[in-house]
């Protein structure tokens, strides 16, 4: 296909490491591979020698021996010793990997079907939240447009962290198990709904690092990338400042009254970004996740509109709580949109109404 695809395609080892942990994992892997290769050559050297030299067609006569205690003891003991040689460096690395104390920055990452929500909990940037969704257009996936360089590995909002700082990632999930993984950092941690787990990394290079969700989480599991932008300390502080300012500027005034058309236009965007995966662009729903059709749906058009459903989700279904992910305005907009699309006809929903129903 594209040139870059072919050039990268001959990768046959782990991705280049961007953290010491990842580099050490790579070393451990190579060390073990060399040991295994040596054993392999030894064992199959013997086998192929037999195959060559002890063939019947060469007239070799079978000997009758079928036991040899010393040899058997040896080939029990020697592998056991080799295992100790392997276990020792592995143990050291495990202990290092699990040590999430003394972090400079703590970020909580929540896996949601099918996006990642990041909350900066502690350290510089505390209070920042962002939601990170695949940004590769559907046309590329469906083959209606040429695929870009970072096909399937690009998102709207990247996780931004400073270089050379210990970042603790607390993982959890809103619906099913996901797994947060960036190969270059050697960090992978499952995100378990309702539970908190953690891992850490210290990126030693600036740049953009990409990974994917590594636990089957439903139909869009393959479309849930992770992109981390590692920047210098100054750039990071600058980013935090901008982010905070933007947050203030962006915040819609929830008491403002919007027109139906305004809400619908905004809602269409929100719908495309958040709801399409399950309820489809056509509003027909998808049986794969038991998402009902919203088109022609009486519950949707009934008063006062499915505000609670969208705010709080439905427990034990794929319908997630959007209250935390979307602003009052966005929720009002998307509800207005679904109430007035695909032949549905109903009144608009104003941000103030959503705000009133928040618990």
């Amino acid at each position: 296909m594209t040139f870059s695809g072919l050039a990268l395609a001959l990768e046959w080892n782990l991705q280049p490491a961007a953290s010491r942990l990842a580099a050490e994992i790579q070393d451990l892997h190579e060390y073990v591979m060399i040991l295994c290769a040596a054993i392999f050559v030894g064992v199959f050297g013997f086998m192929f020698w037999s195959v060559y030299a002890h063939r019947k067609s060469k007239g070799h006569q079978a000997e009758e021996f079928h036991e040899h205690t010393t040899v058997e003891m040896l080939w029990t003991a020697i592998p056991a010793l080799i295992l100790v040689l392997i276990a020792w460096p592995a143990t050291r690395l495990v202990v290092a990997q699990k040590d999430t104390t003394a972090a400079d920055l703590t970020v909580k990452v929540t896996g949601i079907q099918w996006k990642w929500a990041y909350d900066y909990l502690k350290g510089e940037g505390e209070g920042i939240s962002l939601i990170s969704t695949l940004s590769t257009p559907r046309e590329q996936i469906e083959g209606r447009a040429p695929k870009g360089e970072h096909y399937l590995l690009e998102v709207d909002n990247e996780l931004v962290v400073p270089v050379n700082k210990k970042i603790r990632m607390i993982t959890t999930a809103a619906d099913v198990v996901h797994s947060w993984w960036v190969p270059a950092f050697g960090a992978k941690q499952d995100a378990i709904p309702g539970f908190l787990r953690d891992t850490w990394f210290r990126a030693e290079k600036t740049g953009v690092f990409r990974g994917q969700c590594a636990e089957l989480c439903g139909k869009e599991h393959g479309f849930m990338p992770i992109v981390v932008r590692v920047v210098s300390q100054e750039d990071y502080s600058k980013w935090v400042g901008e982010r905070k300012k933007a947050l203030l500027a962006q915040a819609d005034d929830p008491s403002r009254k919007w027109s139906l058309e305004e809400l619908k236009a905004r809602g269409e965007k929100v719908y495309a970004a958040n709801c399409i995966a399950c309820h489809q662009a056509s509003g027909q729903g998808s049986p794969a996740v038991k998402a009902p059709a919203l088109a022609g749906n009486k519950f949707v058009t009934a008063e006062p509109g499915p505000i609670d459903t969208v705010l709080n989700g439905r427990p034990n279904t794929a319908m997630q709580a959007f209250g935390r992910q979307l602003s009052d305005t966005e929720i009002a907009a998307v509800i207005t949109y679904v109430r007035n699309s695909w032949g549905n006809k109903a009144s608009d929903v104003q941000p103030a109404e959503v705000k009133a129903r928040r618990k």
Binding site: K108, I170, G194, F195
Partner: protein
């Protein structure tokens, strides 16, 4: 066979049964029940018809299949060699049942030792479940109603006594059989069945009490889940055991079995002891501790 030869004498022929349609009938019955079950669980009431048909077929199949076995046994087809097979078979079947219960006990221990404490840890309280106190019994951090856990020293304790004594009576019946004392045999066996039925009755009463007065349901979080799954599967096994005992009782009344050839009796007795032991585990870990 050397060990067989010493205990059971040299027997040259092993009885291999004739072809039979019962197995495939059983499979068909299970298929019907499974399909019906799926439809019922997903809100299609018509599934009940399929479950019913499957169940009837299953019962018919069992009656015929066991009927064949009983006939073969009474017809003298089973000597010591076959008898030993039945013993191995039944023991390992019971072992597999133990492992089945193991899965549910594992769930109980996991909830008590890991998941509930983890959900109530400091960080979890701060970021996920504010205010959740990790105390057992627990129905989890999102359970909002009130419920009362089961007390051990009421009906459950009585039930323990009932089951333990039924273990004794079935053994007395066995001794009577070995002495060829048919009257005692029938008496103690009938007593065993009665104790079993009483146990089931009390268990059913207790369920009613739990649901109505304690607000304890299958959906009462992990406590309700483990409580009803464990006791429910146990109760189901007791029911099966009681039915099996009843069949054996009828066979005893009809004069089946001899003092040295009665594996049908023993197999059921083993099974009964097994449900007994499981109950002890339940009593200790579900009700008491």
């Amino acid at each position: 066979m050397t060990q067989n030869a010493s205990t059971h004498g040299r027997q040259q022929h092993y009885s291999v049964p004739q072809p039979a349609p019962w197995p495939i009938m059983g499979s068909a019955a299970l298929l019907l029940m499974a399909i019906g079950g799926v439809f019922v669980m997903n809100g299609t009431r018509a599934g009940w018809a399929s479950i019913g048909a499957g169940f009837l077929l299953l019962v018919y199949m069992m009656v015929r299949w066991f009927g064949d076995v009983i006939r073969e046994s009474e017809g003298g087809k089973y000597g010591g060699w076959e008898d030993l097979s039945f013993r191995w078979g039944m023991s390992w079947f019971i072992f597999s049942e133990v492992m089945f219960f193991g899965a549910f006990f594992a769930a109980l221990f996991w909830a008590r030792v890991y998941s509930v404490p983890d959900l109530g840890s400091i960080e979890s309280n701060a970021l996920m479940w504010p205010g959740f106190a990790p105390r057992w019994p627990s129905a989890g951090p999102a359970f909002e109603e009130q419920f009362t856990p089961m007390a051990a020293w009421g009906i459950p304790a009585i039930n323990t006594l009932l089951l333990l004594s039924s273990g004794v009576t079935v053994t007395l019946a066995h001794w009577a059989l070995k002495e060829n004392d048919r009257r005692q045999l029938v008496l103690f066996l009938a007593l065993t069945v009665a104790l079993g039925v009483l146990f089931i009755g009390l268990q059913a009463y207790e369920y009613g009490h739990a649901i109505r007065e304690l607000n304890l349901k299958l959906s009462t979080g992990i406590y309700g889940s483990t409580f009803y799954m464990l006791t429910g599967f146990h109760g189901f096994h007791v029911t099966c055991g009681a039915i099996m005992l009843t069949v054996i009782l009828v066979r005893c009344i009809r004069g089946h079995f001899t003092p040295d050839h009665h594996f049908g009796f023993e197999g059921v007795a083993w099974y009964w002891h097994f449900v007994d032991v499981v109950w002890l585990g339940l009593f200790i870990f579900v009700y008491w501790l």
